[in-house]
């Protein structure tokens, strides 16, 4: 029972939410947001995709293996932890600074954001692998 209205609208809305969730992720450090919320938002987007187009279509548009997201995310977070360890500092010490990019002007980068990105990947991986398994069963 495909509904064309849903399909067309969701294609548009999809990008709105996706951009919004990345936005949430990147500014997590200074304002409400962060890995968990952004991860959930992105999974919400993929769910919408599932709802509208069905899991089959999802594979053509987004050939991502969500189960791989989990180890990759964990690896990134672990690395952000291990790198300072290698440098002699205690595990997971984070560095941060301010850099000004040409377009965006002065922005603040922090290694904690990398860690957050790892968390983001894990959360997306977890939610989506559960849902895809349930959905496609």
């Amino acid at each position: 029972m495909k509904s064309f209205i849903l399909e067309t609208v969701s294609k548009v809305v999809l990008f709105v939410i996706l951009i919004f969730s990345f936005y949430l992720l990147l500014r997590g450090h200074n304002a409400p947001g962060g890995g968990f919320i952004a991860g959930l938002m992105t999974s919400a987007t993929f769910i919408l995709l599932y709802l509208a187009l069905g899991p089959g279509a999802r594979k053509q548009i987004l050939p991502l293996n969500f189960r791989a997201f989990i180890p990759v995310g964990l690896l990134i977070s672990a690395l952000t932890g291990l790198v300072p360890l290698a440098g002699g500092k205690p595990f997971l010490t984070s560095a941060f600074g301010y850099a000004d990019l040409p377009v965006f002007g002065e922005i603040e980068w922090a290694t904690a954001m990398l860690f957050d990105f790892g968390v983001y990947l894990v959360v997306v991986g977890v939610t989506m692998s559960i849902i895809s398994v349930l959905g496609e069963e």
């Binding site: 450090h29 304002a31 962060g34 977070s77 977890v126 069963e137």
Partner: protein, 769 residues
Amino acid sequence: MLFALVLAPFVLAALVPVVRKVAGPRIGLYTLPLPILLFVYLLSKTAEISQGKVIESAWEWVPSLGLSFALRLDGWSLLFTLLVTGIGSLVLLYSHFYLGPDEDLTKFYLYLLSFMGSMLGVVLSANLLLTYVFWELTSFTSFLLIGFWSFREQSRYGAQKALLITAFGGFVMLAGFALIYLVTGSLNIETVLANKGKILSSPYYPYILLLILVGAFTKSAQVPFHIWLPNAMEAPTPISAFLHSATMVKAGLYLVGRLLPILGGTELWFHTVTLVGAATMVTGALLAVKQDDLKALLAYSTISQLGLIMLLFGIGTPFSTAAAVFHLFNHAAFKGALFMVVGIIDHETGTRDINLLGGLAKKMPLSAVITGLTAFSMAGVPPLAGFLSKELFYEATLETGTMGLVSASLPWIAVGASVFTFIYSALLVLFVFFGKQRGETPKHPHEAPGLMLVGPGLLAAITVIVGLWPDLFGGSLINPAVTTITGKAYDVHYHLWHGITTPLLMSSITVALGALGYTLVGRIRAWFKSVRARVTPNYFYDQGLRLMIAGSRKLTSRYMTGLLRDYIVYILATLVTLVGYTYLIKAGGARTLQLARINPYELIMTGLLVAAALIVIRTHSRMVGVLALGVVGFLVSTLWVVFRAPDLALTQLIVETIGLILFLLVFQYLPSLSRSTEPPGKKAVNLAISAAVGILMAVLTITALGTRLYEPISAFYVDNSLKLGGGRNIVNVILVDFRGLDTMGEITVLGVAAMGVFALIKLKGKNMQ
């Protein structure tokens, strides 16, 4: 260097699977060099050690527990390490021939080598806790080895029995060590030895002694706990030769020897150890005579010999310790050889039943010679080593001196037991190898391959050499061991002939009575077999185990009803009672509850919230329930927003929605929600408990917020989150930066949970088809 000695076997054990691919069936020979190497290294050290030098090395393993990986090579441990590595290499060579290529050799050698490592650990460890660790390792590896042929029910039973009893003993011993730590404040054997006065005078002394002795008695198969050794004979013969005659069962004796200077010397020590030793010696000898299976006969004979050595340690005089060490050395040699020969007989003739065997000497001359030498050495026939240790044994029993009735009766018990020892040794030799062929043996007997006889041959040679020139080993091996135990220098020369003395008289009586006994052996065996004792330790063990299992099953089935509801009720009920009790009684009820001002707006919101929650409970259809739950979530998140916690609100919202979708997905599989038809009684219980938990939580949170015990750490985060973390969103900075490790943990848990769900669903899918 000692670390290498202990850890090398473990490392090689780990490599066995790899080596197996290269070596194929000849893996036994590939693993042989290691024990030989260790043996040679130890031999090179004997010169220094016999001068009293001690090699030590320590490494702080768990300082907080006082557990340091401290190893110590002195006279007493040197003897044992030589035994372990020496007999170990012979056993490895022997098992190469004994086990066919189709056996699971990887598993066999892996277990065997790890046993060797743990046995070396036991005898070298200078820290009591470390001894315990290796002690349990030996029990564990022996469990694996006994149960090697796991397809046979008997070996599984034997392995379990051995593990249960020896591990039980280990635990009891650990309690003893704990008490020692309590009294002396240290677990290192040296320091414990230093303030041994404290232990002897402390009220805990009897408990320490008895607890540790139980550990030693279970391991060395003394009387009440001896029942596991005969069942352990289910293991392949090389294992019986190695573990259950030469090394593992002697760990108990090693421990008794090691702790003799600390705990020994008192009357309690004398009575317990000597009596138990004597009782074991006698029962072992008596039971050995009536056995039909050769290995069982040897097993009971080992129990009897161990009892003999334990008895000597019980007497505790330097002379008796020397006798004990000497006999320990001899026993390891001849019993190892006997086991291997029995293995050869089993291998060649296909049976170990004494009634079927007979007249094998013609077909297996070499084995006959080896068995003759070793069995008669055990019987105490001059000029073999056994005779000398029997002499020392008699002399030690004679001069126990002051201990009244017990010391008077010791010599007679000794002679009595030795008579029976003579009978079953004669059985082993004459009955099996000479006389006429009794029954049909499944396989036609012929001599074992040459190399297979090297092990037993070498050991037999040792018994002969030690018999003729005892002093050869006396100076370098026996005396240093005795000096370490007694603490005083012990330098005695051993020689075969002591002149006409009472021990010689006792020996000749034993031989005479033994020979006489052998002539009537048929009638004695029949008579012994007819004695059917009903209440034996075996009976206790089997019944005890059965009752324990049945009892625990009955108990758990009463409260483990299988209903999720009951478990939740248990958990919550305990929560409420415990926390409620401490709160109301201990903390004296509610503190001053400073309640913040509640503006009307929040009241409406919470009102709506409660209404939606009620819908969830009252509804019949699952859908409405889920939907109402969603509404509850949404309202809670609005409260978050109102109280200016946007992060929480966001997360709550999204989780609500995705939760809703997950619910929908799952509904396709769930059966329709049947009205919960619980009896009113149970519903009342549910209501009561949920109400109690609700109130409890509310009260707790209010008081918690009300009281200010410690300076809240939020202040730290508020001012540092920008400076250190570089972010204004404190919650996120904490989550990702300050408490990064927790988040790391959380996401790992998330990952694992996802894998779990995935596996569950995939597996369900698979067996559904």
